[in-house]
């Protein structure tokens, strides 16, 4: 079955820069897989800065008198804690405690919220919202993310005003454009969202702001790799988010996302099940001895099955293939030596694989 695939609002600029004509689809959007050398794009967020088209991310607004009540039931953290302008990261679970989605939840107003995630879960959220008389609406905007140690300086150079703290956002009328600035990402950068019609202007201005800081355009491959190096598990690549309302897997614990659940939040969907689910495995980082990625491969500890890799890619910064993996707790200590079935050595390491670089201040 073919689905309608859309171009992002930045498409014409992306196409011009995509000299190798390397495209990939995600969430029904067409994106540049890489603009040139994948390795250089992958290293840029650790070295200087990179800009990526993130329009493909899924964003919905939740509005109505019952929004807070609904989100209290939906999310593993209590939205009552959020004041307007703030956001937090949380999960939402199936009735039986399986992870359905993860994202940043931002509060725009007393009865207005926004969810940003990497994978759509519209049916579930709309279905839940219907119980509470809340309106759910998907937003189509152009989004750009800038990551890297120079991101803060580029933010300043662009004229966005006072620095933005992590997990905060603000709407801004910036040199004639209505934009939303946020810092929801895991990579010490920031995001800018604009109306589709303003996309090309935003692109040009940000490129210009980033030029003195050696900012590179990064395609989807580089950004995916960045997520992996940061140790952030992503649906589709690393795990299959539950799509059955009564699914029991994956649990937040085997994905090591329990930090996104507040112990004192009692009302969220799937709580009882998630508390009583067995906690036998957790997520770790795996460094492979070699260049060849090994996604979704079994891992052996002393010949016994100890877990399974999730997503795996070659990291040019580390010059080796790396992977996220779920392994038994007994095999999860950093330094544990495991093997793949073909004999390749694998080592459990702390996450992130590489630390997020400090922003350059001076």
């Amino acid at each position: 079955m073919t689905m309608l695939v859309r171009a992002t609002p930045f498409h014409s600029r992306v196409a011009a820069a995509n000299r190798l004509n390397a495209w990939v689809n995600r969430n029904d959007h067409t994106l540049a897989a890489h603009y040139g050398d994948v390795n250089a794009e992958a290293i840029a967020p650790h070295a200087t800065a990179a800009m990526a088209d993130i329009s493909w991310r899924w964003r919905v607004t939740i509005e109505g008198a019952g929004s807070e009540e609904f989100l209290t039931r939906l999310l593993t953290r209590n939205p009552a804690k959020l004041s307007p302008g703030q956001a937090f990261k949380a999960l939402w679970l199936s009735d039986r405690g399986a992870v359905r989605g993860a994202g940043a939840i931002a509060r725009f107003g007393r009865e207005s919220f926004q969810i940003v995630a990497t994978q759509s879960d519209f049916d579930w959220i709309a279905r839940g919202a219907a119980l509470f008389d809340v309106r759910v609406r998907e937003i189509e905007e152009g989004g750009l993310a800038i990551v890297g140690p120079y991101a803060a300086k580029i933010f300043e150079a662009a004229g966005f005003g006072d620095p933005l703290e992590a997990l905060k956002f603000r709407k801004l009328f910036w040199r004639g454009l209505d934009i939303t600035l946020s810092r929801f990402g895991e990579h010490a950068g920031f995001e800018v969202w604009c109306k589709p019609d303003d996309a090309l202007i935003l692109w040009g201005r940000l490129l210009k702001a980033g030029e003195p800081f050696a900012m590179k355009l990064a395609g989807l491959h580089a950004m995916d790799l960045l997520d992996l190096v940061a140790g952030v598990p992503r649906p589709e690549r690393d795990y299959e988010a539950a799509r059955d309302g009564f699914a029991t897997a994956p649990t937040p614990f085997e994905l090591k996302l329990e930090s996104l659940i507040d112990d004192d939040h009692l009302l969220f969907n799937g709580r009882a099940a998630s508390l009583s689910a067995p906690r036998t495995r957790t997520r770790v980082g795996i460094e492979l001895d070699g260049d060849k990625p090994a996604p979704h491969a079994p891992l052996l500890h002393n010949g016994q099955r100890a877990g399974r890799t999730m997503g795996s890619l070659y990291s040019p910064a580390l010059q080796r293939a790396i992977a996220l993996a779920t392994v038994d707790l007994s095999s999860a200590k950093p330094g544990t030596r495991l093997t793949l079935p073909d004999g390749t050595a694998a080592k459990v390491v702390d996450l992130p694989f590489l630390p997020v670089p400090d922003p350059i201040a001076e």
């Binding site: 000299r19 250089a40 650790h46 070295a47 003195p212 910064a317 080796r320």
Partner: protein, 492 residues
Amino acid sequence: MWDNRAERVTVRYDAAIIGAGANGLAAAATLGRAGLKVIVLDRATVCGGRAITREFDPGFRASPFADELAPVPAEIFRDLDLARHGAILVPMPSSLALWPDRRHEVLHWSASAAFSRLRTVVRSREKEIRARALADAAHAIERRWFASAPEPTLWPSEDWSDLSLISFAGDWHLGEDARAHILAAALTGRVADPFATGSALHLLAGHGGGMPIGGLATFGGALEAAARAAGAEISLGLEVADIHLRGGRAIGLHLADGREIDALAVISTLDLRRTFFSLFAWKDIPKVAEQRVSRYRNAAGRARLLLALDRPPALDPDFAQGQIHIAPGAAALAKAHDAWRCNVVPDEPPLTLRLVSASDPRLAPVGKAVLTATLGCIPHTVFDGAWTNEKRTALRDRTLARIEMALPGVSASVLGSELIVPPDIEEQLGITDGDLDGGEIAPDQMFALRGFEDHPGGRTPIGGLYLGGVSPAFGTCAAGVAAARAIMADLT
């Protein structure tokens, strides 16, 4: 100081390493991880050898001797966990060749199919060579009492010993400009006659290891961190006087301050000539070493001009971050080589520019720039005497003029500069003649013939003494790691 010899402190180590450059630190890290007690000594006050970054003008920094090192073999990069210790290497995005008549040829590595293939070929040969070097080292030498020396097996790419760069470039379906571009890329900061057989070996001499963010000092720092994490001791500001021999075997070091260090094995990361001529008393140099060293040739040719600019030159962002080769061409290269051979500074030495601050804005203040110029075929000793200020200024001005022709407006924006010529390199790094390759790249000095024949893996005829200095084609750190592995193999 010399009188104060009341305490003759002798400390025992498993291995003592002379030189805390990339090779020395890598060797130390390798040996330390294997559980050996290691000490690294360097007369400089900082680690890194040539892997340093210097503020050559207030607020402006650059790596003085090179912007990039030869690629570190992936196996070593992984084993030493260098990425985690801070070594982030930015690959070279592009290469631009510019001619005086403004003709230019850009190659984006990923975009040009032919260049991609070429690069793949070179890379795969480099990999093979390193694998061989490391394997040879790990192979313990059996004490052969009666058997004759084994047949030496051919090294990978030894066939290039018979190939000239021109022939090599001609084998590829490329235009004349493209071929000139390849030559320039192969010979940046080097000395070679592209028509001579064996000049193709320069391709293997290590290009494109990536520019460490923060300059080469970050890379040196990562290696230092790796060595310390492995438990190695690092002693800086300490010059080694000589190697202590007993019964023809190296058993330790004498330091300049009178102290002694006992070691089961010694690695010297100094070049061959300096190892034997500065670390041994004349009468103590073994005959076989003396013969080897007398045959050994160094060919210093690199000079560097570091420029602090008030504003970045107008460059198309497409190639602002890569190398820019000025007027390359086989004929020009051959002419420059001729001049060099006569110890004359060429009129138009090979010139490669890199706007390093475009890749790494940390190197210059905001809005300003650092431009490095790498020259090749610059002689160590000019025919008519030493490198006087006058000669330096002349070279600097001539170079600036050429840069101006390629990038108009640069001269006017120069705020400060530093010129480094081979004698400076010799003095600052303790390298014979300032030859950053550690010896001429010639067929009779490559691969198995680089050190001592019949002594693979950095071993020498002197028991307990190993050579771990720069060896082209091995890549950064590989020679040191090879020597370390040889020690591990020989000690068990």
